[in-house]
């Protein structure tokens, strides 16, 4: 059989897909080959995300242990590497409870609604050259849209559990997620502007200098915003164990809890991959062009380490502090970044509308200084000033008897 994939097909950009399609096309009818190749790729992606989540659970627990001078899980397998599997089997054997009065259908849908967006997000990430499943020309927009779906899943969980703590957690999560969506979108606008495209593949190709250097403010805002969207410390009010049990997944147990947990840790993998793609240059790196996946994995690992490091360091913020951080700090920063980048792009771009590496270098210089100044300025604005007052009464409370201060 001689099947041809049309070059305008969105799957055309994926080299692996074309390879599979051609191989399957020699045996099967075209439509079946189209389906089979797609299923193989989906299988790889789904298992990649779940395996990534398993690896992240282990890494996170080990690293957190070391950050806190502990050892971390080390009992099962070499270095405790089989710990995620042990956890999985433990959760599988637990009873799968549904609370009385819960909305059963919505309750059961939540784990699916949490994992699905993650796997959808992997579709547009270029793991190496020509490896994105679908090289969408609106990739960045697609990512932002899909990542917001998690909000609905979290609210479904809180609402259907018939548990006030779950409801609290869900309400907090929604408040946080909606607030952080704004600065995140604005920070990505700068990236899109410099790259001149919304396709993730072209964003990577545009990074002659990594955008981490070109737009440090955008990187900072995006990282903070994504920390909040993943419900990680210091923004983990949605599942604050010390306040509201486990937040929105209080009532989940067994395999449903395992899926929610997998979604949470899988989220770290996917978000780290997105950060690596948008700000660290994705698969581009020295040496052979076939080593793109290695650079991509390394950069993702660095971002994952950054997330764990932040989690190990900062205590949880109060909900009003989180809101203030978003609206009074991140939003102005992202607006400044947007303004600066748009002006720079306007003045620096050449006849073709493209930016050269020298242009990017100039932008790096300006933006680094701007980032430090802006962070210092707005940090001082939102800083809480404590007034010290003397507590001692001006005159003696009892006439003739001097007041003794007991502190």
């Amino acid at each position: 059989m001689n099947c041809q994939l049309a070059p305008d097909n969105i799957l055309y950009g994926n080299g692996l897909y074309r390879l599979l399609y051609d191989a399957a096309g020699t045996l099967l009818p075209c439509w079946l080959a189209y389906l089979a190749a797609g299923l193989v790729i989906i299988f790889i992606l789904v298992n990649g995300v779940l395996l990534g989540a398993a690896v992240i659970t282990w890494t996170e627990r080990r690293l957190l242990g070391r950050f806190q001078n502990r050892v971390g899980p080390n009992r099962w397998g070499p270095f405790g590497l089989l710990q995620p599997i042990a956890d999985l089997f433990k959760l599988l054997t637990k009873e799968d409870l549904t609370p009385a009065g819960a909305d059963r259908i919505v309750f059961a849908l939540v784990p699916i609604a949490m994992v699905a967006p993650l796997i959808l997000m992997t579709a547009v990430i270029p793991f190496a050259q020509n490896t994105a499943l679908a090289s969408l020309n609106v990739g960045v927009l697609y990512l932002l849209a899909i990542s917001s779906v998690t909000t609905i899943a979290i609210f479904m969980a809180g609402w259907s559990s018939n548990n006030r703590y779950a409801m609290f957690g869900a309400a907090r999560a929604v408040a946080v997620l909606i607030s952080y969506e704004v600065p995140v979108v604005l920070s990505l606008l700068g990236v899109v502007m410099v790259a001149g495209s919304m396709s993730l593949g072209q964003v990577v190709e545009a990074q002659a200098l990594p955008f981490l250097l070109v737009q440090p403010l955008a990187f900072f805002v995006f990282l903070a915003g994504m920390s909040a969207e993943l419900n990680r410390t210091p923004f983990d009010v949605a599942e604050a164990e010390s306040e509201i049990i486990a937040g929105y997944h209080t009532e989940y147990s067994g395999i449903k809890f395992a899926l929610i947990q997998a979604a949470e840790f899988g989220g770290v993998v996917v978000v780290s991959a997105i950060v690596a793609t948008l700000f660290l240059g994705g698969w581009s790196g020295p040496l052979s062009e076939y080593l793109g996946w290695l650079w991509f994995l390394l950069k993702t690992g660095v971002v994952v380490f950054l997330f764990i490091w932040i989690r190990a360091t900062y205590p949880r913020l109060r909900i009003d502090q989180i809101m203030a951080f978003s609206w009074k700090f991140l939003l102005p920063l992202s607006l400044i970044n947007l303004l600066a980048v748009s002006l720079e792009v306007f003045f620096l771009r050449g006849e073709t509308g493209q930016l050269t590496a020298t242009d990017l270098g100039i932008m790096t210089g300006i933006n680094l200084v701007l980032a430090v100044a802006a962070i210092a300025f707005f940090g001082n604005l939102i800083r809480r000033r404590v007034k010290f007052e003397t507590r001692r009464p001006a005159q003696n409370v009892v006439p003739g008897v001097s007041t003794i201060e007991v502190s």
Binding site: G65, N69, W309, I375, R383
Partner: protein, 239 residues
């Protein structure tokens, strides 16, 4: 500058990442145990016990149960009661150590273990057979004569250690071989038996004494009058 403190915080955790974790991985490694640790599984020396039941009386919870019967040989001859039951209900014990303080003959010691977990409360009761057969690793709780003892059984425990603090810590209950009844007492066995034989009524240690032909602990005669109060004497009677 604002934000600098956050970077400093990150550096603090990064510094901790490079440190060696101070976890003691319990089943493989053990923490250093203080010699005066009041642990489980009381150490009881039947040879020293007279069956006086002071320990049972002093226990605030009344969890020691002692049943004795007169021994076959005559009591005035220094033979003790025969102990039939010596149960300690460990599940209710609060490890206050009062029973050990109450024992006048250094027969009861606090143990040094902490791994006596059982699946039922009945199994927590330590019977006389268990007490007899248990490996004897006594704690130095209320038994200062054990302090500073680091070596083989039979070695003098009054060996002065270099410093005061060290003398307590050189003794490791779990370190050496189990201790026999001759090694652990404050007084020599002969003094002990002489007192039981009614020698308290005698005027002094130099007074002539009548030793029973067969001791309860299987010790043979052969004391040197006047020398029996010393510590060195303790090892002289070893079989």
């Amino acid at each position: 500058m604002y934000g600098l403190a956050m970077v400093k915080g990150l550096l603090v955790t990064l510094k901790n990442l490079t440190r060696k974790p101070f976890t003691i991985q319990y089943p493989e490694e053990r923490a250093e145990q203080h010699p005066r640790f009041r642990g489980e599984e009381f150490v009881w020396y039947e040879e020293r016990c007279t069956g006086c039941a002071s320990c049972a009386k002093y226990c605030p919870l009344g969890i020691i149960k002692i049943v004795t019967s007169p021994s076959e040989t005559a009591l005035p001859q220094g033979d003790k009661y025969r102990l039939e039951v010596f149960d300690i209900e460990l599940q209710r014990c609060m490890f206050c150590g009062l029973c050990v303080e109450a024992c006048p003959y250094d027969a009861l010691f606090m143990g040094s273990g902490f791994e006596q977990g059982q699946y039922s409360r009945q199994d927590m009761v330590i019977t006389i057979d268990q007490l007899r057969q248990a490996e004897k690793h006594p704690s130095t709780w209320f038994r200062p004569q054990l302090e500073g003892y680091a070596g083989e059984p039979g070695e003098s425990r009054r060996q002065p250690a270099a410093t005061e603090g060290e003398s307590r810590l050189t003794y490791n209950p779990r370190g050496g071989p189990p201790l026999g009844w001759r090694e652990v007492g404050r007084e020599s066995w002969r003094w002990h038996r002489r007192e039981k034989a009614g020698m308290r009524l005698e005027t002094g240690p130099t007074a002539p004494q009548q030793t029973p032909a067969t001791g309860a602990g299987g010790e043979t005669a052969g004391e040197v009058p006047g020398k029996d109060d010393t510590i060195d004497d303790m090892t002289a009677g070893k079989p």
